[in-house]
């Protein structure tokens, strides 16, 4: 029965060769032959290990040898599995010699799908100044990777996926920079900054990542405000603020934890809004605004300290006055 199936497959491969409608170059025939062999090899592989329920692509590792012998020209998308396709796309001009995908694990398909989605979104960011934060930008990005424009349908949230991806990526970049600075301080190669300066620099670094897209940023903000996107956008914002405070050295475990993060969230959001309508050179107005807000917070912290100490002093004064009054009226004396 295995031989019968294999015979059917080879017959089908030969039919593929024969029924090519317009053979422009030799490459369609090569593709057909390669696919036929690919299919035949798959069938052999599947017959051998029937116990493992395996999707066709992950049995492709033994057939990479076939793949290479018949590699006529670089674009191999129609026969390559996504794992091979990722490697092929990265080395498109050269022949595919990498054996990166020999380990055909079960879960590799899903990982590669997400990685592919990340690559498409990264490519789509280049088109945001032209198309805005829309599905057209994602389609244009997919086309630069050699995929059809229809692959933007993979993103069920459409433009929301693009915006959230960008935010997650920027937050990760910021966290890496803060961690790097932290390491340098530990090693003694850099000076530790004061809290106010640290916060200021962190917020400025993060907001500077918006500069290429600042013209379309209001559209992105409106997308983030859509009800189905609010949980995700709030999550990203809160982790961003938490990370900044952590690297600023905050280890508080009382109400200060909440007040500090609330304050920084307020500063970040308002500065972002100022930046969106800022037209000064290199956003200087925005950084001045940021300085002032951080100064306000610092002043407020001082003021609260002073108010509490004054309050304590006032309370003590009142207690003293009450005791004096009691002495004067003779209540304290015992008869």
């Amino acid at each position: 029965m295995a031989a019968l199936l294999q015979g059917l497959r080879v017959g089908r491969a030969l039919r593929c060769l024969g029924s090519v409608v317009v053979p422009k170059t030799s490459s369609p025939q090569c593709n057909g032959l390669r696919r036929g062999l690919h299919c035949a090899a798959l069938r052999l592989q599947e017959d051998k290990d029937k116990s493992i329920p395996v999707p066709p692509s992950s049995t492709a590792s033994p057939t990479t040898t076939f793949h290479e012998h018949y590699q006529a020209h670089p674009s191999e998308h129609d026969t390559a599995t996504p794992a091979q396709e990722a490697a092929a796309a990265e080395e498109a001009p050269q022949p595919n010699i990498s054996y990166v995908d020999q380990s055909g694990e079960q879960g590799e398909d899903y990982e590669t799908e997400e990685q592919l989605q990340v690559r498409i979104l990264n490519a789509a960011l280049d088109f945001v100044p032209l198309h805005g934060w829309t599905v057209e930008a994602i389609s244009a990005g997919a086309e630069t990777l050699g995929l059809s424009a229809a692959s933007s349908g993979m993103f069920q949230n459409g433009a929301g996926d693009l915006v959230l991806h960008f935010i997650a990526q920027s937050n990760t970049q910021l966290t890496e920079q803060l961690a790097e600075h932290h390491n340098q301080v530990q090693l003694g190669q850099a000076e530790p900054k004061k809290t106010a300066d640290f916060l200021r620099d962190a917020v400025e670094t993060r907001l500077r990542m918006l500069t290429p897209y600042i013209n379309n940023w209001p559209q992105a903000l409106s997308i983030l405000f859509l009800p189905h996107n609010i949980p995700n956008s709030l999550k990203h914002l809160s982790t961003l603020v938490d990370d900044i405070w952590y690297y600023a050295g905050d280890r508080s475990t009382d109400l200060n934890w909440y007040t500090k993060r609330a304050a920084l969230t307020g500063i970040y959001n308002t500065t972002e809004l100022v930046m969106v309508q800022d037209s000064s050179e290199d956003f200087q107005d925005t950084w001045n605004f940021l300085d002032n807000r951080i100064q306000d917070i610092a002043n407020m912290a001082d003021a609260t300290k002073r108010v509490t100490s004054t309050g304590e002093a006032v309370v003590q004064g009142l207690m003293g006055a009450a005791v004096t009054l009691k002495n004067l009226t003779g209540i304290n004396q015992r008869r």
Binding site: M1, V22, D78, E85, V135, A150, S151, S152, G153, M154
Partner: protein, 333 residues
């Protein structure tokens, strides 16, 4: 003549039996169907000996294709009218939903297999045209308040280049059907609607498409795949003609999830639809075949598995009208 009367009588008797215990027997039959099919394939040699289902009948595979052809040949003239009558116009919403989920960008190529009278293709062309108009309106509005940078670049660069680019991205739809009668009806519709550019009509078999590899951005098959003798071959052909990154979309009748709705749906299908077929189109048998073939088609999850086996990724389905119709979508990555 006598044979056809016998056939009719057989159908009426079967129908009567079915109304008594329709839902139970249908589910049993449909669940045992796939194992029968694979068992038959293993034993036999040529296509003439392998058997498959034609509605609730068992026929050889060669015969099925022929009989499906005859069914659609006879219903072609009244196809659209019957669609409206049977689904009470809801089929238009299903097809609109297909386009909405597809969200085609201007410039993509669509292959509408089993497209017959061209419903999907007409909607596709309308959608893309209205999108292009919307984009044109948006750019016109944006150009009313240009920034300094835009004004300076418009002085330095020629503007014709941009317009030529948008014109080159004209979308094209190809309607492919095995049945010439259906295509004829579709062409007449196109002429009466005045749609001419961007549309072509091709005769072809879904199991063996007359196109090169990597040609199309989107492949749709709406209410056609259950009539194909070898569904997996049709799926493989879909994977072949799609470009990398291309999307496969299939609209098909499927299993209703809600049991109460299922009972109503079965009663409506077996009681009303053949009667409507007889009254409006004068063809009871074809519409009996229609409702039987719906019951023989695999359910949503099974079909999703089949699509994944053919090599498509990110496969999802949406149930429309409570599971009466399912929209499956997969990508060639």
């Amino acid at each position: 003549m006598a044979a056809s009367i016998r056939l009719l009588a057989r159908r009426i008797v079967r129908d009567a039996f079915r109304t008594i215990n329709s839902s139970v027997s249908v589910r049993i039959v449909s669940s045992s169907c796939p194992s029968n099919l694979s068992a038959c394939r293993c034993f036999s040699d040529g296509a003439a000996d392998k058997s498959t289902h034609f509605g609730f009948e068992t026929v050889s595979e060669g015969e099925k294709a022929e009989r499906v052809y005859k069914v659609f040949e006879s219903v072609a003239q009244k196809y659209d009218v019957m669609n409206d009558a049977m689904s009470l116009g809801v089929h238009r919403l299903w097809k609109d939903m297909l386009l909405h989920v597809m969200n085609p960008q201007p410039g993509i190529r669509l292959l509408d297999v089993a497209g017959g009278t061209g419903d999907i293709s007409f909607r596709f062309l309308n959608y893309v045209r209205s999108q292009q108009e919307r984009v044109a309106r948006r750019t016109a509005r944006a150009n009313q308040t240009p920034s300094w940078q835009e004004i300076s670049t418009s002085y330095t660069t020629p503007t014709e280049g941009i317009e030529m680019e948008t014109e080159a991205r004209e979308s094209r739809a190809v309607v492919c059907d095995i049945n010439k009668e259906m295509l004829k009806v579709g062409k007449q519709k196109a002429e009466s609607m005045g749609v001419s550019s961007g549309l072509s009509w091709v005769v072809g078999d879904a199991e063996e498409l007359p196109f090169d590899d990597d040609q199309f951005d989107v492949y749709t098959i709406a209410f056609g795949i259950r009539n194909v003798t070898h569904i997996d071959l049709a799926l493989q052909e879909a994977v072949r003609v799609l470009k990398p990154g291309g999307r496969f979309m299939c609209l098909e009748f499927s299993k209703v999830t809600n049991p109460l709705l299922a009972r109503l749906y079965d009663a409506y299908s077996f009681q009303m639809i053949p009667v409507l077929g007889e009254v409006i189109a004068g063809d009871w048998k074809s519409y009996q075949y229609l409702v039987e073939s719906i019951r023989k088609f695999p359910d949503q999850e099974t079909f999703k598995q089949m699509i994944e086996d053919a090599g498509l990724f990110s496969v999802r389905y949406h149930n429309l009208t409570g599971g009466v119709v399912a929209l499956h979508s997969g990508f060639k990555l």
